[in-house]
């Protein structure tokens, strides 16, 4: 018998057993067909359930294997079933990040070319310098917490979703840093070190720093992901970004800062979707759902308490811009609604008490007085 050589090595040049097996066939796609994200992501990080015949072959000194389900208090019947709704893999991640970087650079270049920073209201410049400057450290702290967390998930799908979350947060912290440095150089007298000083010492920012440091110090990686996306972001992150900067800036002659900030809001929508999907899956788990709910509820109590304290302490910021177009009370109400809605989505009680009427009243009255003065 002689072996026959085939002229072409292209698909379809010969028909033989397996010659048409042209899909990864070792996992069940979430939909009818595997998405590209699933093909390049699912099962790249294996485990003894899928498919390590010889188990993990190196352990830590205390016997913990390379990956362990014990790295979170949450339990899951099938960690492999999670798929990130944003479906990011390397190509889509770079495309999106690069588009954001380009968008921000265009906005900033155009604003600076038009001399916009020089026309920012002076009181607003102080807000940018001291408080947007302080907030960039919060974003960085969350980014570093997530960068740590992406080591610990039991599957590739969980870890990659946390990795891209970290990438978005760290990019945004840098966006703010470089944006402030650039517009600051146009304004003159802009103190680039003031933001960090406020972050470290200003009483307004200390509960916020405390909340972020608690997230960084959490040893359970899913507690970190939960606290970032389901607690801090809606209660403090969005409150400051959307509820304050994006609503107020235009009235202070500042159209560029909201554009920079808007990227983080869009990032968050995607990271929130990923996080909601993951935690909803864990709460629906037939065997562990109730225990998971108890754990998430306790995390919510802990981090929610810190985040509310941080949010309330930021209240004076709403009084700083010369032109008042938003009130803290309204912004906080939206944050309260948002976190409650997120809680309902995954299945925990995230209803927070409303602000005491006197505080809402004070904030509204204070805004009204300043508005009148501005007119």
């Amino acid at each position: 018998m002689t072996m026959q050589e085939t002229a072409s090595a292209a698909a379809g040049a010969k028909v033989f057993p397996g010659s048409d097996s042209r899909r990864y066939n070792y996992f069940d796609p979430k939909g009818r067909k595997a998405t590209h994200y699933e093909d390049v992501t699912v099962d790249v990080q294996p485990d003894p359930e899928r498919y390590l015949l010889q188990n993990w072959i190196i352990s830590f000194g205390d016997g913990t294997p390379t990956y362990s389900k014990d790295w979170t208090a949450l339990k899951c019947t099938d960690w492999h079933s999670f798929r990130a709704p944003d479906q990011e893999w390397e190509r889509t991640h770079y495309q999106r990040q690069s588009t954001i970087v380009g968008m921000i650079q265009n906005v900033v270049e155009n604003a600076r070319r038009a001399g916009a920073p020089q026309r920012f209201d002076k009181a607003w410049v102080a807000v940018l310098q001291n408080h947007v400057g302080a907030f960039k450290h919060a974003e960085y702290g969350l980014g570093t917490a997530l960068m740590r967390a992406q080591r610990y998930g039991y599957t590739q799908m969980v870890n990659n979703a946390i990795l891209t979350n970290a990438s978005y947060k760290l990019r945004f912290a840098q966006d703010l840093t470089l944006y402030l440095a650039e517009v600051g150089s146009d304004i003159g007298g802009f103190d680039l070190d003031a933001g960090k000083a406020h972050w470290l010492d200003d009483p307004i920012w200390q509960p916020c720093r405390e909340a972020v440091e608690h997230i960084r110090a959490a040893t359970d990686f899913l507690e970190q992901v939960f606290a970032v996306n389901l607690v801090f972001e809606p209660l403090v992150g969005e409150l400051f970004r959307s509820g304050f900067v994006m609503q107020v800036a235009a009235a202070q002659n500042d159209f560029s800062t909201p554009s920079v900030i808007s990227a983080a809001e869009a990032d968050y929508e995607r990271n929130l979707a990923n996080a909601v999907e993951l935690f909803a899956l864990l709460l629906r788990d037939p065997a562990h759902g109730e225990d998971n709910r108890t754990m998430l509820q306790s995390w919510f109590t802990h981090h929610g308490g810190l985040a509310v304290k941080a949010a309330l302490q930021l209240q004076p910021l709403w009084s700083l811009p010369r032109v008042k177009v938003a009130s803290f009370g309204d912004a906080f109400e939206r944050a309260r609604d948002r976190v409650a809605a997120i809680g309902r989505e995954i299945g925990i009680d995230a209803d927070l008490p409303a602000l005491p009427p006197v505080e809402v009243g004070q904030a509204a009255a204070s805004a009204a007085v300043t508005d009148a003065a501005a007119e």
Binding site: P46, I58, E90, A173, W199
Partner: protein, 574 residues
Amino acid sequence: MADAILQARITNIEIMGRDDMPDGLTLNKITSQKGIGISEAARRVADLGWTPSYVKEAMSFPTDYKISKAPRDPMKQVLRSYFPMQEEKDNRVYGALDAALRGDMFRNVEPRWIEWMKLFLAIIPFPEISAARSMATLGQLAPGDDLRTGFTMQMIDEFRHSTIQMNLKKWYMENYIDPAGFDITEKAFGKCYATTIGRQFGEAFLTGDAITASNIYLQVVAETAFTNTLFVAMPSEAARNGDYALPTVFLSVQSDESRHIGNGHSMLMSVLKEPDNHLLLERDIRYSFWQNHMIVDAAIGTIIEYGTKHRDKNKESYAELWHRWIFEDYYRTYMLPLEKYGIKIHHDDVHEAFDSIVKKNYVHKIAQFFSAGWWANFWRIEAMTERDFEWFESKYPGWYDEFGVWWENYAKLSKPGSVPITFADTGYVYPHRCWSSLVPCVIREDFTIDEVDGELFTYASEVDRWTHKEAFAAEYQGRPTPAMGRFSGRRQWEEVYDGWDLADAIQDMGFVRPDGKTLIAQPHLSFEEKDMWTLDHVRGHTIRSPLLALREMTPQQRQAHVEEYRKGFKIRRV
């Protein structure tokens, strides 16, 4: 102020509209704004960090090293320039893949080469993503925040590498004549005796002492030294075999490695500052260099030299490539200078590694082993031919005497119905497996055994024995090393299937084509169904674990066995 700006803009527009634009004046220069310099940008970004005062972060990644000096970032990196650059690199990669299809690359590609990609690309995405995970470790361990952006970029780079390689593999699966083996890739990675060797490499990036794993093993040795053979030498061979996709993807991957090498060196310089670390650095550089040699040279050496059809005698052999990339570039210019910082470098290991390739035929013996167990693979290996023999003989004089008959036997026994070569009367002695590197102990004269915690183990060499018994232990030269990793799991594939029939083991691993009987692995490249082996062709032969057999021997029998094993064997013609 506003008037002045308006006037400036009008002037700019006028300049732009003139035909006689002054020399050196470009639209970009007119419209761009003065930005902050890269050093200032990197400094500002590094200043984002702070020392927590409300809650102290628990150090979640164990290490026995002391690190007090903050590593510096010599590359002054910021993310806003990184993302567009990476996107552009991606555009080129994906454009090239499209072009390769339009150019009908698969019509002319060498199947011998693409088959080995089933193995290589089953392994490599895991070490890549393990490297991404390990950046969590370095980001937390490194004092200060100067190098955080470098670690962040490396984390995202590795995510890139892992998914871009999965994409490449999918692309091969969709377009190459025989997709079997690509289609089960990640499942195969978990089952195969050879991919476990790759997993030893990848798990070593992120398990055990954090500095040992993520800085020394991954960055200082694997990335700085061995990615050159992995990601530079291998793509060259791919191109010689008509595969333009692998070079496109892997040279793009390699362009990220310089960043990782910079991260690793900076972190190493920080670790070096503490004299207490020097003993551990000596241990870890020694272990990492030797194990990288054992694993990477086994896999990549075999793929480059046995996966190619290109036999131009003017091209460099793997031994020559190794001398250039590892000996000259890495050992002489990176490892040796570490001595001036007081680190003991084991020169003898480097020379021994080179000798194992040049004088002891390490790569050839590994290729022989891969072919001896072809039925347990999920890729095809075809026999070497006269043309191959000539090239090997010219590059490695004496090659034919030792390996020629083996490959002639292999060709003879490649027809279904023949005895699988493992069980044929060739004189080949199925090798013991090294407990440290998991690579078979193919250099017979270097084989050694030892007991650890009262149990007997086998090793490919003295350094492998030292790695298991002394380096991966709770104490090193009298110093407690609680953070150091431990070897674990069912490390020897043969032990898992000891006593199994070949056909049952292959079926258990799932290395069977969709018809339920034809093997994915074949000892040839024929795509005719009649030439293909099925489960029935291999049934009736039993897998035995050499280690279990050795453990069952009396001390005298064992001594005799070891002495006999070290003598090696002579292949007989069948």
